[in-house]
């Protein structure tokens, strides 16, 4: 026996429903699904009884804030990775708005290395589009693409690349290495000082509004730019009914645009802001129920391609204050599965195969992750999430792995629970609890 501990163990997952399909067994060995079928029996394999559970390809988040380097008081790669594993994610894309900003090969390699060392999930750094997120000059996108981190997703997330010429150049430039620009669509002048969705509730609360048109006008411009230069555009956290319409129109014209929606925008509305509790402060803001319904419909019909959590942990003092002073953002890694199950599956809009498409296959494809998002069949990398869809649990932020306590779902009872997460064949989560990290070979 010369194999490392990780490789020594074979796992036999017995009787899980494969997505929306029939129950089957999965044999996992050396990081790969080596066999599927029924009634498999393998000497020496650790058997995991998965009857009643659903197996889906490991979830992939295209939009995570891990805060390291710079804001280790809010989250670290280690804590964020643990939260990801517990949430069923086998890969997360770490957004570039760290300090220093991930705008050089050095910083993205640092984040990548921290992720490998943590070993809970595949941490894929997102590179900044512009130096320091300042929106003035392109960062060295090619250097980040060529680095060990092999960056393919570039974003100034948190800040919109609002200069149309810069956006055009970025879209053109990343074609050289099959990259994609993930745009935070927010017209800055229309959202100066904005605190919440502009509408009936902001009128009563007396808060500066963040109008839907500020998102929609940028998306409209960007899809036309993407068409003009024939490049890939990804729209982050779509939040309005009008945005869904524009993206649907663009896809009908064959424009290479993909879009994401957060779990919270699939459920919560600006009515919650009446409490003035900053846990509901987020960017883009919570919208109206009409928007929520349009986002769900768009996700179900494929107009919106993926779920992106926009997991944004903050230290408590950033939320224990006046609304206007509070930081924007919500945690999301450990509630994403349950919120999507509640809003999309239990509402009858999609099934578990669609769940696999929007949480794994499509985000892996957009991020160009070769060994993620593969179907659960022999020969695929063993990135697997086992879900108990019948489970019910109450959200308690204090018990989460993320350092952020800012979950807008605190106190709510949610359906569905991650029972196990296999990351490259290694169980990072077993029986709903953290197991051990995967040790990286050769590093």
């Amino acid at each position: 026996m010369s194999a490392t501990p990780n490789e020594a163990t074979a796992y036999l997952v017995k009787g899980a429903a494969i997505g929306s399909g029939a129950a089957a067994d999965l044999l996992i060995r050396n990081g790969v699904i080596t066999e599927t079928g029924t009634g498999l029996s393998v000497a020496g394999a650790t058997v995991i009884d998965a009857e009643g559970l659903v197996a889906v390809p490991g979830m992939v988040d295209l939009h995570t804030h891990l805060r390291e380097p710079g804001r280790e008081d809010a989250e670290t790669v280690e804590t964020g990775s643990r939260a990801a594993a517990l949430g069923g994610f086998t890969a997360v894309h770490a957004m570039a708005n760290s300090s220093p900003v991930a705008d050089t090969a050095g910083v993205v390699e640092q984040v990548y290395t921290l992720g490998r060392k943590a070993g809970w999930t595949d941490v894929r750094p997102v590179g900044a589009v512009t130096i320091g997120l300042a929106g003035e000059r392109l960062a060295e996108l090619g250097a980040m693409a060529d680095s060990r981190a092999r960056v393919r997703v570039f974003s100034d997330d948190g800040i919109c690349v609002h200069d149309p010429v810069l956006m055009r150049r970025a879209l053109e430039y990343v074609k050289a290495f099959d990259g994609v620009i993930a745009q935070h669509a927010q017209e800055p002048r229309l959202t100066d000082g904005a605190q919440m969705n502009e509408g009936d509730v902001s009128a009563v609360l007396g808060m500066t509004g963040w109008p839907a048109v500020a998102e929609e006008s940028i998306i409209a411009r960007d899809v036309l730019l993407a068409q003009h230069v024939d490049s890939r555009l990804h729209v982050c956290h779509v939040s309005t009914a009008g945005s869904v319409e524009i993206i649907r129109w663009a896809k009908q014209r064959g424009i290479k645009v993909t879009a994401e929606v957060t779990p919270h925008h699939l459920w919560l509305t600006d009515e919650l802001v009446r409490s003035y509790d900053p846990v509901y402060k987020v960017n883009p803001p919570l919208r109206t129920d009409e928007d929520v319904q349009a986002l769900r419909a768009g996700l179900a019909d494929g107009t919106i391609d993926i779920i992106g959590t926009d997991h944004a942990p903050h230290p408590s003092e950033a939320k224990e204050c006046e609304w206007a002073q509070a930081a924007m953002g919500m945690t999301g890694l450990e509630t994403a599965l349950s919120v999507v199950q509640h809003t999309m599956i239990e509402s009858g809009l999609i099934g578990w195969d669609d769940f696999a498409r929007i949480t794994s296959r499509m985000p892996a494809q957009i991020g160009r992750l070769q060994d993620q998002g593969q179907p659960l069949e022999a020969g695929s990398a063993a990135n697997i999430t086992l879900i108990d869809p019948a489970a019910r649990w109450t959200v308690e932020p204090n018990k989460m792995a993320t350092m952020g306590r800012n979950s807008p779902f605190a106190g709510r009872e949610l359906p569905g629970r991650v029972v196990a997460t296999f990351y490259q064949g290694h169980p990072t989560v077993l029986d709903g609890s953290l197991n051990t990290p995967r040790t990286a070979e050769g590093e």
């Binding site: 009128a203 009563v204 007396g206 808060m207 003035y276 509790d277 204050c321 006046e322 609304w323």
Partner: protein, 332 residues
């Protein structure tokens, strides 16, 4: 009533009770000795995150006439501006034994946050928060209108509401906490409200408000309002392209001498002109209008003390606090 945070969630019974109590307080203010011992030993903190000398001294006078101890905490230029959080400030006041915190804040919702946070046990009175609400201003405005309305109808003020009254609120509605608080309270008391403003100074969503919206002040005056409330125009609004110039604003939406005469020619003898102060004379209101017999500006200031006395008295005599002596007992 545990706190006074907004008029939107103030029921009619509570509103009328505050106004009726304010009538009793006004009687005290007319006496030679303008002081009641009902809040002796109680501490009222004026916590002001935004300058407002008028509102602060009005609350201070109200608390002192009820014999409360008053602490003025101007959070601007104090430890707060050096990074101390609202939470720490609140807990500090709590530790000092504040029974009521009167808070003025530039951020909408700060008083509601303070009341709901669990950081503090004291009664919270919203003395104006951002562009959200200013409930005691609306209450003193309603008190002023009610006295006038009762006089016209030949009844005594206590116990009555504003049913049948027509009120026009004119100016920068978008940024006005006074307009919002007045709208909800006036509706609760049965008045009809018309908001008059340039379209740029009305919030998106105003269509859902229980009021009529007009862009035309002359048309609104011709319809015969019983009260016209002029809102203060902040000079800095001009820089954000809400309107082309102050002169154009004044011509279209200011209460000028021509409109003062129009009230007479429309035969509106009893129509009053209100302003929450401080006034920009010559901008939203002409000097002649401000000084005319129709103007209730000084009555509003006087009534402000009575209404704030009533609010503090009712809040601090609530069940969560030991009941002070009744006003009648105190007057004996």
């Amino acid at each position: 009533m545990r706190h006074l945070l907004s008029t939107e969630d103030l029921g009619k019974d509570d509103a009328v009770r505050i106004l009726d109590t304010a009538e009793e307080m006004a009687a005290v203010s007319d006496r030679e000795v303008k002081k009641l011992p009902v809040l002796r030993g109680r501490t009222v903190v004026n916590l002001f995150f935004e300058d407002s000398t008028r509102t602060r001294i009005s609350f201070e006078a109200a608390a002192k006439r009820l014999s409360a101890d008053v602490i003025n905490f101007a959070a601007k230029g104090s430890s707060v501006s050096k990074g101390e959080s609202l939470k720490d400030t609140a807990q500090t006041l709590e530790a000092m034994g504040a029974d009521a915190v009167v808070i003025r804040h530039w951020a909408s919702g700060a008083p509601a946050r303070l009341a709901a946070s669990g950081w503090i046990d004291a009664a919270v009175v919203n003395a104006g928060d951002g562009t959200h609400e200013h409930p005691t201003q609306a209450l003193l405005d309603a008190f002023t209108m009610r006295r006038n309305w009762a006089r016209i109808n030949g009844t005594a003020s206590p116990g009555t509401d504003l049913s049948g009254m027509k009120v026009a609120i004119v100016g920068d509605v978008l940024h006005s906490r006074v307009a919002r608080s007045n709208l909800w309270l006036l509706r609760t008391l049965g008045a009809d409200v018309t908001m008059v403003a340039p379209p740029t100074l009305l919030p998106v969503g105003v269509a859902k408000w229980p009021c009529t919206v007009s862009y035309d002040l002359d048309e609104t005056l011709a319809a015969g309002p019983d009260a016209v409330m002029m809102l203060r125009l902040q000079g800095e609004r001009m820089n954000a392209a809400f309107f082309p110039s102050t002169r154009e604003y004044s011509r279209r939406w200011g209460f000028d001498d021509r409109r003062l005469q129009a009230l007479d020619s429309h035969g509106l003898k009893e129509t009053i002109i209100m302003h929450p102060g401080p006034m920009n004379r010559g901008l939203e209101i002409s000097a002649a209008a401000a000084d005319s017999p129709r103007s209730t500006v000084l009555q509003q200031v006087r009534n402000g003390v009575s209404v704030r006395m009533a609010a503090l008295y009712l809040l601090l005599s609530g069940e969560t606090h030991a009941a002070p002596a009744t006003i009648q007992e105190a007057q004996r």
